[in-house]
């Protein structure tokens, strides 16, 4: 019996629940509910972790040939994506002692898992030759750490826009959101973190491609889109630093950057074809 996907579908709902409680606590300013939301999110994270570990174990139970670290296809990478989003936003929450980010970030984790559950093939498959590489594992982990940081930065940027709009409006609702300067700083830190890991992800991907397909770079759509994303965030870092861009404009750029991330991950698979549509890797 395979339990990991069952656990993971339950976890999807727990993340959703956490998101709803966060939102409730935020709108009605209930400190107790916010604490509850954190605990629910922690439970979801524990479940998510258990799902990943179980999938790992169960892949070996299916036979030593089938066993592999669960970072090798769309489904598994999305599960890991949700996990990293949860870890990052809980860390940010603790560090900045503010429980509003979860209202934006927990739904993202829920969406990632929900989307994962639509994957046509959730079963554990043995690895085809091209995927048997430690560089692949490094590639998936670094990419998704980067993507998750960008996702949380996206959530923070949304908060920023909400707050800055609210401060300008007449009916200043004094939403319980951290000060704009902190949100801005937080976006910047998250983007730096994401940029580092996206860079590492592109590099590990290149090294893997070199070994499996002889070329470190072949301009296939997925590679190109990750480079486009990288250019966007590089431009953002420079704008912020030299032109002193802050606030709204940086928040908008961070949202555009995350859209590019989404396209790199989902759009390319749907609309463009290339080496990376995992299924096609079998050569």
């Amino acid at each position: 019996m395979i339990y990991n996907s069952l656990i993971l579908s339950i976890v999807t709902f727990i993340y959703g629940l956490a998101g709803v409680i966060y939102l409730f606590a935020w709108i009605f300013r209930k400190e107790g509910a916010a604490k509850l939301a954190t605990w629910v999110a922690v439970i979801a994270l524990v479940g998510n972790t258990a799902g990943i570990v179980l999938r790992w174990i169960e892949s070996y139970q299916l036979g030593s040939e089938t066993g592999h670290a669960p970072f090798s296809n769309m489904y598994e990478s999305l599960v890991f994506f949700a996990w990293t989003i949860a870890v990052l936003f809980l860390l940010v929450e603790k560090r900045y002692n503010n429980r509003t980010i979860g209202a934006m970030a927990a739904p993202l984790a829920c969406l990632a898992l929900a989307y994962a559950s639509f994957s046509p093939d959730k079963s554990i498959q043995p690895l085809i030759p091209a995927l048997k590489s430690n560089w692949l594992i490094a590639h998936v982990i670094t990419c998704f750490l980067g993507y998750a940081a960008f996702a949380v930065a996206f959530a923070v940027s949304l908060l920023y826009l909400v707050k800055s709009k609210d401060e300008k409006s007449e009916s200043n609702a004094k939403l319980h959101i951290p000060p704009l300067s902190i949100l801005d700083e937080l976006t910047h830190r998250l983007v730096m973190f994401g940029f580092l890991f996206l860079t590492a992800g592109i590099i590990t991907g290149a090294v893997w491609a070199k070994q499996a397909w002889t070329r470190y770079w072949s301009w296939d759509p997925k590679e190109t889109w990750s480079l486009i994303t990288w250019f966007i965030y590089a431009a953002m870092l420079h704008l912020r630093m030299m032109r002193g861009w802050r606030g709204n404009r940086i928040a908008v750029l961070s949202i555009i950057g995350f859209l590019a991330v989404l396209f790199t991950y989902f759009g390319v698979n749907f609309w463009l074809s290339g080496l990376h549509s995992y299924g096609a890797l079998s050569q």
Binding site: E65, T66, Q125, P126, I128, P129, A130, K132, S133, E185, M192, F193, F195, L196, T199, A200, I203, A206, V207, K210, Q211, A212, W213, T214, R215, Y216, W217, W219, P221, T224, W225, L227, I228, F231, I232, A234, A235, H238, L239, M242, R243, V268, L272, S282, Q283
Partner: protein
């Protein structure tokens, strides 16, 4: 340099300023991002027929004109990359000219007054005079700081310390790495090659077909495939492993034997040999037929049209055979490995002469692959060759090898390392300077903790705070010690 700036001070200077500006950087980055999208929407390097099918003839002409069929190598895309390189180099020169003195200074200056006035400075009061605190403070403050100095001042002392001055170089590493990467890519495309070889088991070859130009290229050595195996996972079509046993032959000598699988290539003299695909050798030599020579005995099947009975007979080439039911006499004249009939390729066939009673002899063709062929003659007898029982054909494979030489790859990898190290330094390290000042005031002294960092102000402020707490603790223990005496 001096002269040119004198002749055209305006132009040279504004060109320099343009090329070093960050505005240009941002514009270039957005242009590169935007233009790269094109190549993901319009397929690259496919055949002209496919382009015409997709975009029509005039569309294809336009794509050709704008170099979009191979856009990542087009003059305008490469031009943008070069502009980025120039931008990086000039900008770095510009900033290093100023930054050099800051980074490579032997004796960093500390303007005490400036630190006293900093908003983030923390004030502490102590019950002990400054002198008693000096050693203890020195020990605490300088932990982890590379540079430290004690400055005696009126009525007390000041300690200055700093670390991470070199981290200001991190950003130059990041930018240098981009130049290195582009150079590495250029070396690879200029001096490298990349081609494919389909090598049947047991054979050797030194010829590859280049991937981009489809020309053949001869390697400085031969590759022999001793064995190829593909294994599948149980009960499925999922391949598990492709494995080739290769040998490198140079000047007639076998110099290396190695097994390769996907993800584990073989390198010889810098040339990489990668397991990329495989295929089954089929019907390369006819599985019907006997190769170049017919055997001494040939089995025929002879059908009488009148009775419908099929007779099996054995015939020897050149020796006449009497057909049953008085249908005549057959002589095998010769065997052709690649026979034709009215310009139609039939593959291997026997050419025979059929002589019927009271009829002129006629030449008939008996192709091995087409047993019904003789029926088209509409004679009284239909003769076909019983195909030789295909010896349980041993499955033969060819291994598909990508053979790649890329002298730039180590340059590129160096760029990767530079970039990662640079990013870590830029994002997570900073140049920090702290100043602690203790001045006697009354019975005790006044302590000021101040400092600055070039990045991550929030994090640094927390650090200062922690340092102030540690100093406080030291002062308190000092006081109790003093009281105990």
């Amino acid at each position: 340099m001096e002269k040119t700036t004198k002749i055209t001070p305006g132009y040279a200077q504004s060109l320099w300023r343009f090329l070093s500006s960050l505005k240009l950087t941002v514009v270039l980055l957005f242009c590169l991002a935007g233009l790269s999208v094109i190549g993901t929407l319009i397929p690259q390097n496919i055949s002209p027929q496919d382009y015409v099918r997709l975009y029509g003839l005039s569309g294809y002409r336009l794509l050709l004109l704008l170099d979009i069929v191979d856009m990542y190598r087009s003059w305008w895309f490469v031009g943008l990359l070069l502009l980025l390189v120039v931008n990086i180099i000039i900008c770095s020169i510009d900033r290093l000219r100023v930054g050099w003195q800051v980074i490579f200074v032997r004796d960093p200056k500390f303007d005490l007054e400036q630190y006293r006035r900093r908003k983030n400075a923390i004030s502490l009061e102590s019950g002990t005079p400054a002198d008693h605190l000096r050693d203890v403070f020195m020990r605490i403050v300088t932990r982890g700081y590379g540079f430290k100095r004690l400055i005696p001042i009126k009525g007390g002392f000041a300690i200055t310390a700093e670390r991470g001055r070199w981290t200001r170089l991190g950003v130059y590493f990041v930018h240098l790495s981009i130049v290195v990467l582009i150079i590495g890519g250029y070396i690879g495309s200029k001096f490298g090659f990349e081609g494919f070889m389909a090598l049947p088991e047991g054979e050797q070859s030194a010829t590859i077909e280049l991937n981009r130009t489809h020309q053949t290229y001869t390697l400085p050595f031969e590759i022999r495939c001793d064995d190829f195996k593909v294994t599948f996972y149980e009960g499925g079509q999922r391949p598990k492993e492709f494995r080739s046993n290769l040998a490198i032959i140079e000047g007639g000598q076998e110099v290396l034997r190695q097994q390769i699988v996907v993800n584990a290539p073989l390198y010889y003299k810098g040339i990489g040999i990668y397991q990329s695909s495989y295929g089954r050798l089929d019907n390369e030599t006819p599985s019907f037929g006997w190769g170049q020579q017919a055997p001494q005995e040939i089995k025929l099947s002879i059908q009488s049209v009148a009775s419908g009975i099929i007779y099996d007979r054995t015939i020897k080439p050149g020796e006449p055979l009497q057909l049953p039911e008085g249908l005549g006499q057959l002589v095998i004249e010769r065997y052709e490995a690649a026979a034709t009939f009215q310009n139609m390729a039939l593959g291997p066939a026997l050419i025979a002469t059929l002589t019927r009673p009271a009829e002129a002899a006629q030449t008939i063709t008996l192709p091995l692959k087409f047993p019904k062929f003789d029926a088209m003659r509409r004679g009284a007898v239909i003769i076909s060759v019983v195909p030789p029982k295909a010896a349980p054909a041993e499955e033969r494979f060819y291994t598909g090898l990508q053979v790649v030489y890329d002298p730039g790859v180590w340059v590129v990898y160096t760029g990767f390392i530079l970039m990662l190290v640079g990013c870590i330094v830029v994002f997570f390290m900073s140049h920090q300077q702290v100043v602690i000042e203790a001045v006697n005031r009354g019975n005790g002294c006044h302590v000021l903790v101040s400092g600055k960092a070039n990045k991550n102000q929030m994090g640094f402020q927390m650090k200062l705070q922690r340092m102030a707490e540690r100093l406080m603790a030291a002062m308190e223990s000092n006081e109790t010690e003093g009281a105990g005496k």
